[in-house]
């Protein structure tokens, strides 16, 4: 302690910074502060990581259920395509395939419009058809608040319900003033119908 005082007296506060013990001490304290904060962050992260992941998984499952309420089990098919981030097949309690839940991310106005599209599979042997059972938005934070974000209105999203690839190609109503954001939603729905359609075709039209 006495040595430090002597050094501080010798150099003073405004002396040369080289080999100055006061500066060394400053650096040490800064290191200590950042070290303590880093350890605390690490401990908290370790404590909460699993819990946060579980909550996120639960939320994702709830989002899929929201667009396909009759489904009870979702399985990731691990397919992707343009604008499709992931696709899940949905089966009901008896294990029959009832549809797909597709997470899509298509270009909107400011960035990607992330949404989940529910598709219902109907029809019997050999003649399956796909229609939209629901669309719910996951992340539209890149769209202009109050303008592009209006695509989240239920009226706009409801129009997709019951649509097939053919009827979607025919017409759809964009939100006025938010054409690009609306297009992002539409492109996502289209990509979901397209990929699910191809999956059904590749399985020979017979889906167990």
């Amino acid at each position: 302690m006495s040595e430090e005082n002597v050094l501080q007296e010798k150099h003073g506060k405004n002396s040369s910074p080289f080999l100055d013990f006061a500066h060394f001490k400053t650096a040490l304290i800064l290191l200590l502060i950042t070290g303590v904060v880093a350890v605390l962050l690490g401990v908290t992260n370790g404590m909460t990581k699993e819990k946060i992941a579980a909550i996120a998984a639960e939320k994702a499952d709830a989002a899929r259920k929201a667009v396909l309420p009759t489904a009870s089990v979702f399985t990731d098919l691990e397919y992707t395509s343009d604008n499709v981030l992931s696709i899940y097949e949905a089966r009901d309690g008896s294990g029959a395939l009832i549809g797909f839940a597709v997470e899509t991310g298509a270009q909107g106005f400011g960035g990607t419009v992330e949404q989940i599209v529910g598709l219902r599979v109907t029809g019997a042997n050999g003649a399956y058809s796909l229609s939209v059972s629901g669309v719910s938005l996951l992340d539209i934070s890149d769209e202009t608040p109050g303008v592009g974000s209006r695509v989240s209105s239920s009226g706009f999203l409801k129009q997709f319900e019951g649509m097939t690839a053919a009827s979607l190609a025919e017409s759809f109503d964009a939100v006025s003033g938010a054409t690009y954001s609306s297009e992002g939603v539409r492109a996502g729905v289209e990509a979901a119908l397209d990929l699910a359609g191809r999956i059904i075709q590749n399985s020979g039209g017979i889906v167990k």
Binding site: A27, L30, L40, N45, T48, I52, G146, V147
Partner: protein
Amino acid sequence: MKKKSLGAIFMDGLLFQNPILVQMLGVCSSLAVTTSLINALGMSAAVIVVLICSNIAISLLRKIIPDQVRIVSYIVVIAGFVTIVDLLMQAYLPSLADSLGIFIPLVVVNCIILARAEAFASKNGVIASAVDGIGMGLGYSVVICIIAFVRELIGSGTILGYEVFGGYYQPSSLFILPAGAFIVLGCTIACYQAVRNRKAARKEALK
């Protein structure tokens, strides 16, 4: 410097030294989140909580933190502290994290937090710093809620998402866009200054 009473510290934050209207701090966030009243309320809650806690933390550490590296230390302490709270909230209060989650990272870089650490908490005791945090936080909240109220009312014709004009009003999207934020903020500051100047003039006349 004369010691101020806690009441005076509080009123400074709320009114006389209002962070947005007088100090012009945190203007960026106040422009960005005020598109709807519910966003402003969420941001207000996040700012008040973080400001009080960061003021207390900095005040406690003010004798340990060396002068030369104080700004770095403040940022590390505040950012670390807020991240911990954010993680804990996500794990144990997920519904609260849902509504406040997007504002928490915004708050870390809000300059009000750093400014109060530098200007007040690093020079004052724990209780005074906490009161300063409450006052400044409320001062910020009141102003962004006023701006958000006006912008949502004119720009969307709604208040907290509820239609107030019954469909007879054509909303002006200018007020939702960034330009509208500047206009409303400017008018709010002008009103505040007008009231202040009038009060000052009256005081002058009495002398």
